[in-house]
Point group: D2
């Protein structure tokens, strides 16, 4: 931790801060510069230390040196984490394809779309049974009935199921039917929910919140990991910026950046990341090209009739073409898809 | 709803979309322009219609006309909502002052700070018992013990209590001790939690999420209102932008803008909105000047020793000076504080 | 143009606005809805009309229907514009590779790096002679000397030259030496400069400003096109967002989005778009995968000794590997690179 | 400058970097921590050093300690700069009020509005003669004719003139008529223009670019100051964020923050900062409350007929009421307006 003092600070101030750093369990190194005095504090940086030192009236700025996440860090574990559950493998050179409708709309329709996406190359089925919706007046999902239909679709197709859980007291229920528990972007910092899925032994697909920094994203993963659940899949799904021609801005550089910082696998959601179906094929190819371990895509028999998110949903033909292109890119890079 | 068709669309397309708009319960009005055909659809705009029409391949864009929130809207209720609970009044020309530490740290200390802020002009006491923290390794609050200490501070000072609730199954517990239930910025779209506090009859202080649009913010309020709880206080606490010299960017224009759109009272949190104690006094005065119905401020006996958020916390002398200035501004504008 | 009136507006207001729309040369269509009256105005939308109508106290909102750019629009010209100048072709399935140092540092060094990048697959040489720098105390470029060295490098290698021009009175000078005139991101809305390069017949590489919307970007191109210069290359180089782990956020969805809206070719600058050399190879591959017509990359013999932008600059080996990967991706998609 | 090395770096690396820091004219201090080695480099931090060290493959991060602006810094000059030119004083407890239309539209009309704003309390007249416009098809200003009309309005009212200059070769012309040279937000990093106005001895009103950090803003001021022109007025006019209910987001915390960092006076532009006339009065009052040294406001006899920016322009009655409120706030804070 680097503590930059205000200009012209007194010897008394330096001594006081030096003592305080020692009390906090770190070792102070005083560096007297021409315009500023700086105290470098080595040793374990604990949450809260930075805030405390910054609150001091003689301190100009405090800069942490170490990343605050530990278990998620590549320094803790060099080898990439590979997650396999039923038909779905993510990581280790294999690109998983999670596809399906935004919402489960009925038994017949979810089985039909499951067959379609499987035939086109999907390795898992997505579909919302519990739906977080911006408006209280919007369709909120089929709930447990929807989970049953997803399980029926798995029965028929063998595809692993990925579905969202919204609140801690639903975790057990959703875990009964789903192979992967999805945490939505709005809930990335719903800490009780993160702890609850951390207590299960199901893989968790954690979506990045639209205004979360990478550090906050990895710390959210850390909440799950810290409960003993090591199977966390990170999902980039777009951030909120000033751009309005897409629903969110899809910042693909997070894929190689996360690769450097963490051993956890990374998937991309070009459907939410753009919000525009016609942009999804190109951005899927780009996701594969920059190293994503998987894609999660919204696909529906007839997007114009989908109960939610139709504008960003591919129809079966578009999905098939998208996967065909992505496979070519994956092949060119020596990956399996 | 305005449906803009792609250039050169056929008569068949126009007829198909016209029929679909009628099926959706709206009345279509076809407008043939030089470069584009537009269909204006009047009648009730329901969530999901926009998405459905946008998913059509011949549709370029769909623009809603009506705001999607209803109960929160000023069109539903012209008179401003005034909320009074114990010592705290917010709205109707009276500016509420909610002050106290970030976290409750002990019984003695919370009682002491309660007395201090009351003497300086606070009309309610804030303090976190359940703390949402970015890192799983940070202090997570004193939990029920903290709630008891807050109640003890109310006993001694008469100040109403404002404290955060993080998850649905804590609502009953927190409501037992607190006068106002606070929903934190990270939980603004935690819909199960919004519904749970909506089922109580306690006033709710709802913080804006750092990447929420005003429409999303009012729709989050709508989730609470829709459960029958009419006492919602909106809180602007800063948004995430590219700026780094402050923790968040405090966009005060939301205060007069919300005033035009909703009857709900609006408070500002300059502590989180800036993250820097030295900027809080000026931004508090600015909040009052632009019409805020209240302030929520972090105050601690010794910010450098606070267990959380020290860098943005005022000490008692700073708080007293801040309130003195704000009162002058309020007085100049004919308001009571 | 869709003019949404405030609720409960009078017949007099409707008539007044109807007349005003007619005076503005448009045809009004009145649509009386349940909660709002809307006037759809068809005909030529001119800049300023929206502002005028929005300034009316009875108007709630005005929504334009047509895009404000004309010559850049795909509706004006269906076929993609292909730009060829010397060794460089951009568009029509051929991916151009513009590579070289941030700044020209000397004759020998620019010739050396030109040979290196050509051998690895570059089809044009970049290098700054006039350098816009955030600080007045930073190196501002070798100026005309630098232009001469670039011309010398072209002499030796045959590579077309791409270099920046910063102010109108340098246009003639830079055009004397350079094959493509580059407009930097900071100057995207420097209209006198846009008009000055529009008056030449040299291709212009126009960089997107870090906070420019796509509409503003295309209108900046329109300034050049409107002067009769049809050879504009659009360059996405990253936008400013809340993210700090990269220098800018590279929003690749602009590539397929621009493709739908304009016939102009689109290149990507992953060096500035990330600011981090280790992320450049992945983002180059992603750029090719999502359909970019070209790449512009910073390469230096020894990035740690570069006079500017070292942190985002590739060394020769990294550049060679990047191009090798990109060629595989291009090949998989049926493109030439 | 703090140089953080990658984990597990060798003694050779440390020695190599230590030598390089010495060669750069700084003094290295090596700090061996548990997880990282850090080298603190004291002495003059020059532009480019950070980039060079960051480009080293063994370096994880480089954090500068000193602010890169010098002349603008409060450390260079403790006393606030007060600028007086004719009728306008900005700084030192006196709040300047610059008001007038977006564009000069004719001699009679500019004289009329000058009289109106003066009567209501303005101390300078604004009005654009050269207009930077997003679209090449929009009205670009009356040019020199407009400057003459502004001078005529000064003749009649005695108000100082503030008007924009867009390109270096117009500086002499605009300086002939205007009392203050305005640099627009789009040109904040047009360095040739900054240098050109820096060579005059006219006060310069420098608008913050919509995506400029505070450091970039002060470095742009530094370009002017470095030419010997000490009279720079900083103007906050809103930044680009994800918010769409206002044209820009007005981040007022920059006012007290700039106050801590620089001696230069700070004015706020609530017209551009919100883009919505009904929000301008509240945000003007908030600007005064948080310590602004001046306001710049768009006022027009009939905003709906203004040739540009009507939606954000006050009419005379609104302007008068705004100034009346602001004066009360200024008075409450012991300031003159």
């Amino acid at each position: 931790m680097i503590v930059v003092l205000k200009p012209l600070c007194s010897q008394t101030t330096i001594e006081r801060l030096t003592r305080r750093i020692e009390e906090l369990g770190m070792k102070p190194h005083i560096i007297i510069g021409v315009e500023r005095t700086v105290i470098a504090a080595t040793g374990p940086e604990r949450e809260g230390m930075q805030a405390e030192l910054e609150a001091d009236q003689e301190v100009e700025r405090v800069m942490p040196i170490l990343a605050p996440y530990k278990i998620a860090s590549r320094e803790t574990r060099r080898d990439p984490t590979v997650i396999t559950v039923g038909s779905l493998t993510i990581g280790g050179g294999t690109i998983g394809v999670i596809a399906g409708p935004c919402s489960v709309e009925g038994e017949e329709s979810i089985i039909e779309i499951a067959k379609i996406v499987k035939a086109a190359g999907a390795t898992a089925l997505r579909g919302g049974a519990f739906k977080p919706r911006t408006s209280p007046y919007a369709f909120q999902g089929m709930k447990e009935k929807g989970l049953e239909f997803l399980a029926a679709a798995r029965e028929v197709t063998g595809l692993a199921i990925v579905t969202e859980v919204m609140t801690p007291h639903h975790v057990e229920l959703v875990a009964k039917y789903s192979d992967v528990l999805q945490i939505g972007a709005r809930n990335m910092q719903n800490y009780h929910l993160l702890q609850a899925v951390g207590e299960t032994r199901k893989p968790v697909l954690l979506k990045r919140g639209p205004s979360a920094t990478i550090e906050e994203f990895l710390l959210a993963a850390e909440y799950i990991l810290d409960q003993g659940n090591q199977q966390v899949i990170l999902c980039e799904r777009g951030i909120r910026t000033f751009e309005t021609h897409t629903r969110f801005t899809l910042p693909l550089a997070t894929v190689p950046y996360l690769r450097e910082k963490t051993h956890l696998p990374i998937v991309v959601d070009p459907s939410h990341g753009t919000g525009v179906a016609s942009l999804v094929p190109s951005m899927s190819a780009a996701s594969v090209a920059c190293g994503a371990d998987g894609l999660i895509l919204e696909v529906h028999q007839n997007p114009a009739k989908a109960v939610s998110d139709g504008a960003q949903t591919l129809n079966p033909a578009q999905f098939e073409a998208t996967i065909a292109t992505c496979r070519k890119v994956a092949g060119a890079l020596g990956k399996t898809m």
